[in-house]
Symmetry: C2
Subunit: 201 residues, 2 copies
């Protein structure tokens, strides 16, 4: 049963993160100010500093929540897709959904800005990439053992190539404002790993 309504909104910190996340994914961390976020939420920057003492803390929270949600999405994919090729397609669809919202992957954006980031955020970027690589490596390995995927070399190397390819495809698609550019590359990528196995519609 839901709790009775409270005086304050359900979770102000979460709403701050929502706005900040969207802005950072579109413009980059360095191009987003407390004032930008505060303006959209119709509060003052002082109020933001109450919830997140500094931009470094805000950024860290941003990346942590993003990674948590992404990991949850990966688990969801494993529940809903039994086969490796389906899991790969679902994985690339996660990226597509972000692009469709006119956003770039938060991790990709922060990777570009990496050299200007505080240490906490840097570690969060690395962790996100490592988690993705670990998950993909497992999917690729299982797919190869089952015979549903085909590739040469180590699964970890291919996992890195998949991440690179999808991040790069997003990066390049955005200036054109054309999601089909991303889809074409993603489809090629999945097809190259499932050669010999027909793609479902």
């Amino acid at each position: 049963m839901p709790r009775p309504l409270r005086t304050r909104s359900p979770d102000t910190a979460a709403r701050i993160l929502d706005v900040a996340e969207r802005l950072v994914q579109r413009r980059g961390f360095n191009a987003v100010s407390y004032a930008d976020v505060a303006k959209e939420l119709k509060v003052t920057t002082a109020s933001l500093h109450y919830h997140f003492p500094g931009k470094a803390e805000l950024g860290r929270a941003l990346m942590e929540r993003y990674a948590e949600r992404f990991c949850a999405a990966l688990e969801e994919i494993e529940r809903t897709h039994a086969e490796a090729p389906g899991r790969l397609r679902a994985y690339s669809t996660l990226y597509l959904r972000v692009l469709e919202q006119d956003r770039f992957c938060l991790c990709g954006m922060l990777a570009a800005e990496y050299q200007t980031l505080p240490e906490d955020m840097r570690q969060a970027v690395i962790r996100f990439l490592d988690d993705n690589e670990t998950w993909l490596t497992r999917v690729l390995d299982e797919g190869r053992r089952e015979g549903s995927l085909r590739f040469t070399g180590s699964a970890a190397d291919v996992a890195r190539a998949v991440i690179s390819s999808l991040e790069g495809a997003m990066l390049v698609a955005r200036p054109y404002g054309d999601t089909s550019r991303f889809e074409a590359t993603a489809d090629q990528l999945v097809a190259s790993l499932t050669s010999g196995h027909p793609e479902p519609a």
Copy 2:
């Protein structure tokens, strides 16, 4: 025969662009200020404004020179490499050289920051990507006709996938400070297009 030494340095504008280019490729356009560039050159920001009235003009000049040099490098590749596979490898090496200098592709960096860029710079980013795609498409098409390359689908789609893959591999390699991460992905990419043809050492 070289002209006699002049009172002023060979080309101040070029030296400004050199410093700005390096800083932007490392930190991003939004994270580089006139003061940063001026400090390295030991001049004042006012002097910078003499050569480039505003940051937008500086950015445009930056991207234009970068594209010119890149196109020149592509022509050089065609002169020095007769076969498509060699041209592809040389192309990926262009990216590697940038990464080795602890930089990201200027175009990739600006693609990430695209939504915050002035119109002139946006057009320059698109032009750069289009030029790369055109060149790669030609190389891929010729390679397939000669039989030295193998891939399915349109050469233009594969060209886009190659660009995405290399840009993404650079993006992801930088947080790790590990050029071998890039090389592994680039090698996989070239190998996947030259299957059936042994790689030279």
